[in-house]
Amino acid sequence: MESCLKDQIGAVLLPGDVFTFIKTETISLTDTSKAEKIICGPGLRRNGDDVVVCKSGVLRHKHPNLYWVDSQQRRYVPVKGESVIGIITTKSGDVFKVDVGGSEQASLSYLAFEGATKRNRPNVQVGDLVYAQFLIANKDMEPELVCIDSSGRANGLGVFGAGGLLFKVSLGLVRRLLAPQNEIVKDLEKLYPCELVVGMNGRLWARAATVQKTLIVANLLESSENMTAQQRRTLFKRVADGNL
Amino acid sequence: MATVQLSEAEKVYVLHGIRDDLRVDGRSCEDYRHMEIETDVVSNTDGSAKVTLGHTAVLVGIKAEMGKPRPAQPAEGYLEFFVDCSANATPEFEGRGGEELGTELTNTLYRVFNNKRSVDLASLCISPGEHCWLLYVDVLLLQCDGNLYDGISIAIKAALFNTKLPKVLISEGEEGGTEIELSDDPYDSVRLSVDNVPCIVTLCKVGPRHVVDATLQEKACSVASLIMAVTPAGTCTCMRKVGGGSLDPESFFEMTEAGRRVGRALHGPLMALLSQEEALGQKRQKVGFLG
């Protein structure tokens, strides 16, 4: 049954495409361990004996048996454990309301910051950016963010953002950027030093030495969304040569 | 402020005062507050009046337009009422907030004038079935401090008194139709008779007694009030109970009696005042809101 999925790796799938698995009529008694198992990632659903595609995109595979559809979605859906960039919209009671670009605002407790206690509240203003991780994210509950890890350390999370630029890209690009050894990031590194915060919700924050360079970085990233590696390299090279 | 919130202690104080015929501001139960009337305050209108009753301030403008008589009453003109509860009075009236109260007041005014004697509608007719005067009576509520009905009705009466309609000359046109000509001379005008225009008296039942010209505090203490439109002759052109309470028949009859008495007493001084002001003529220093 895996074979038919395997055949399609890298192909564009559309919602409603069905993978049917031909049942072997004869059950081999000797080969019990052959029962195939696959894991359906985002965009694939099991429907009875079939696997149905529910998002359009490219089918990806990860060894040994993980399959998912890589879609160019723009709207973010909170997932537990993901790190996102949020904007504080209101302070209410002992929680902040945070806009993460999802369907609902997430809540962030005052106490979910490193070193925060009842007495010692973090200095967070409305409109500030926070890099936070989802503690709770499911369809039935209000999503909740934290800015500490399980041991109470900030570990890179928390309020940030002075002097940089926030912009939005597609979720696909964000995932590409976060992939280990990503080419774009590498190319960018060569160009000049800059800071980059990547939120899984499609928000990027960049800061370089000057406003000018920050803008260049932002524009480069935005435009590398739809570029081939070749195009990107020439572009980056020209920037590096100072032709921009 | 269209309504106020009163604490129980305040209510008791007001109630006890009224029981002893001594109200919070020193009046007795059938006294009106200080009232100021000025006519001819808006020059764009054909008649206007401004009345303040305590803090209640009402401005009425009457505009006459030439219109077609209603098919059912071809030989009569008619009146159109509109009450604008402006946000000036209270922020609650902002936007459409004043509409509910405005409709209520407007409907009552239509009822008050729903008879032939209040205003001589036949005199508003120019040529039967074709042309008549249509009086737009626009009430502007500038400040609410209780007893809106009385203030409005007095202002309307004063404004009607002040209304001057240009004289109309009807001549036979060349093609058989009638031609209508308005007199250019501003002094050559027709006045309306306001002798039978009723004044509204609102009686508020507070505890066992009733008061006229209730302030907002007193209104907050009362469960029900009775609105009566009383003509100088003592007849009643409209009566209705407002508020969430009920009245027993005996006190109801008492109240109608009092209302009639107060209403009749109101007309004399009002008319005297209006003619007095009129007599001052053009020399009169117009005060408006500047005073």
């Binding site: - | 729903n114 008879n115 109970k241 109608t256």
Partner: protein, 274 residues
């Protein structure tokens, strides 16, 4: 004026047919019996037909027929109040809405609520309010909807009666029933429970609105809960009119009570076999 955007209306210049029908002189004789055989100057209300619980979806409902005046009333609630910002949450709120069906009058009416209907709604509300134990329903609202199916006079009075019946049918706690009655003055005599023609007809015959009066009354408590009059009336006529109306209400009272008892019996579980 609100305008109806949902329907295509006839041209503005169009007029009702009735205006062009050459009517026979409708001047009612100012003495003798009335057109429908009732007597003047007597508390001679039209016989009424009352039935509760016709609308199954509503919490309570009532239908009333007096002569050709037919109306139906539904009560919904008590339910959670829609307006949360109201400061006074100790008491429940009563909402009343009275409408005329477009076909209810000789001339076609509009679908949207006119100012006259709003006025009548307010009257219904204020008449019912004293009778309902609103303090028993804090933070909630009760909706009363009255639809006039056919208007042959005294619609308001019957609407009040019908609404109080529907409230009782809905099991809303009340101090008393509310009954409505109206009269119309014609010269020296009065017509109780006037028909549509008498309401408007006598106006043109004598050329003057000699006064009409609607009273709503709580019969057990002997309280006037609502009153509305227009047309010029002297003191004597007014007081006499109110008394007559009260009398009229008392005449209606047993009929309404009976209907209610019948409704309650019908709704009660069958008595255990005995």
């Amino acid at each position: 004026m609100p305008t109806d955007t949902k329907r295509i209306r006839g041209p503005e210049v169009s007029q009702s047919l009735s205006r062009f029908i050459c009517k026979p002189e409708t001047t009612l004789p100012s003495d003798g019996t009335r057109a429908d055989g009732r007597n003047r100057d007597q508390v001679d209300v039209r016989p009424v037909f009352v039935r509760c619980g016709l609308v199954s979806q509503a919490k309570g409902s009532a239908y009333i027929e007096a002569g050709n005046t037919k109306l139906i009333c539904c009560v919904y609630g008590p339910k959670e109040t829609e307006r949360k910002d109201e400061t006074d949450m100790k008491c429940g709120r009563l909402f009343a809405d009275m409408r005329f069906a477009p076909f209810s009058c000789p001339e076609r009416g509009s679908w949207i609520q006119g100012s006259q209907e709003k006025d009548l709604s307010l009257m219904v509300l204020e008449s019912l309010q004293p009778a309902v134990c609103l303090h028993k329903y804090p933070r909630s609202q009760i909706d009363v909807n009255v639809m006039v199916l056919e208007n042959n006079g005294s619609a308001l009075a019957h609407a009040i009666t019908c609404a109080s019946l529907a409230l009782a049918d809905a099991g809303i706690e009340m101090y008393d029933l509310v009954l409505g009655c109206s009269i119309r003055q014609d010269g020296a005599s009065y017509l109780i429970d006037p028909t549509f023609l008498e309401e408007s007809g006598s106006y043109w015959a004598s050329g003057e609105n000699q006064g009409s009066l609607t009273v709503s009354f709580l019969p057990s408590l002997n309280q006037i809960s609502g009153l509305q009059s227009d047309g010029e009336m002297g003191e004597g006529t007014l007081t006499a009119g109110v008394r007559t109306c009260i009398e009229g209400c008392y005449k209606l009272y047993p009929v309404i009570q009976q209907a209610l008892v019948k409704a309650v019996r019908g709704a009660a579980p069958p008595p255990s076999e005995s």
